[in-house]
Symmetry: C2
Subunit: 245 residues, 2 copies
């Protein structure tokens, strides 16, 4: 059996009660360790779960049959940070398990894709999500997504890259986006850090203000609002940089 | 203190471990009972939480100060089905509490907005979410949203109405959408029921096929895919109506 379990965004106790029961009953636990990072240590998780954890790299998940082989005979729990299917690779594991006749279950959890609603921007008005990479100097893809969303008044969420333990910051993302003239120093954006944890930071202001704001520890993300309802405007004002100077 | 706590999509044990701890420590528990419905009874929840629960109607949340007044002196837990801020009304409660100087915390949880990824459609490629109402015979708004999303290749999720304990079904939603000629009997869609629970149903097929499919108990939702990657196509085929005849 394969249980694919979302473990939430920040601390060991973000797992659901049902998920914790599944984890404790499992014979093997794998933690997906390459598309996202925890805000606690793997040891903290192992202690909370009272169970050994194997950190799975991309090769183990995508190129080997180790996990599915185990799941043929034993109960395997595959843990994903946030919700379960934000990354294609985790969906493929689920699909392959079903195709191999392995019993599967899915335990859902919170995701940054809905935690962005803490800003006061309405979830149903977000368009396609964009990612800003460290390595690619071609800014067209994220900006094309922004432009398509803006054309129909939608908000755009930018997820920021993680590579070799390095997280992209709001300031770096803004540097990247302002290489083009679609976003200027006067564009109003929302920067977020550690969404889903008890100590999130949210700031609303112009690009030049946000570049100076201190967002603290990662992960960060960035939102460029589309057309806003007055209730959204009022909510954004509660996070205005001016209030935190 | 006001804790706003997402309790997930289906069963009492979908609450997070952290959320359960907050609920059990609270002096008063309100359950939001008018934008969504539980798949278990309130008594089941109260037993699981070992705590009395007051079901809050729209008037109590939006027109009275009862909840904020309690939160000035006591610890109030406000429970929301799914994730916390899918509905504007819950965000307003959070904003008013902050403005009144009441300590707040938010416990996130799973949402149908990310559970739709179980279909294999990639979350970052969804556009604006539409709702299909029972009462309004004007189909332009949902269809305009669909058209805007389709113009830029995005998937469209339709959430289906709940009114006086009546849930709209996939078949009713398809009847509604096919009153216009943008969706025909040959359009390929994905119908879902009870996403986030152990016994979800997902079916992919033409409108005419889906109208005949048995989705079982509510809640249902409907997705019209936009441009699909081949991995998304492969995933959708695993839910094809043909496989379940």
């Amino acid at each position: 059996m394969l249980s694919i379990i979302g473990i939430g965004l920040a601390s060991p106790d973000d797992i659901s009660v049902k998920g914790l029961r599944r984890v404790r009953a499992a014979d093997h636990i794998y933690l997906e360790g390459y598309t996202s990072k925890l805000r606690c240590s793997v040891d903290d998780l192992a202690t909370f779960y009272d169970h050994d954890i194997t950190v799975a790299d991309r090769e183990l998940v995508e190129q080997s049959d180790t996990i599915l082989d185990h799941a043929q005979t034993d109960h395997v729990a595959f843990l994903v940070i946030g919700d379960v299917f934000a990354a294609t690779t985790h969906y493929e594991l689920f699909k392959e398990a079903r195709e191999a006749g392995i019993e599967t279950d899915i335990i859902y959890n919170a995701s940054v894709l809905t935690a962005v609603s803490t800003t006061g921007l309405q979830l149903y008005k977000f368009g396609r999500t964009a990612s800003i990479p460290f390595r690619n100097n071609d800014v067209t893809t994220p900006l094309n997504i922004l432009e398509s969303n803006q054309d129909i008044g939608l908000h755009t969420l930018f997820l920021l890259d993680l590579e070799d333990g390095q997280y992209m910051t709001v300031a770096e993302a803004l540097d990247y986006l302002t290489r083009n003239d679609k976003i200027t120093d006067d564009t109003r954006c929302v920067g977020c850090a550690r969404l889903g944890s008890d100590n999130h930071t949210i700031r609303y202001g112009t690009v030049s203000r946000l570049k100076e704001a201190d967002f603290g520890e990662p992960p960060h993300c960035l939102i460029v609002p589309g057309d806003t309802h007055f209730l959204e405007e009022e909510a954004l004002e509660t996070w205005a940089c001016e209030r935190f100077k």
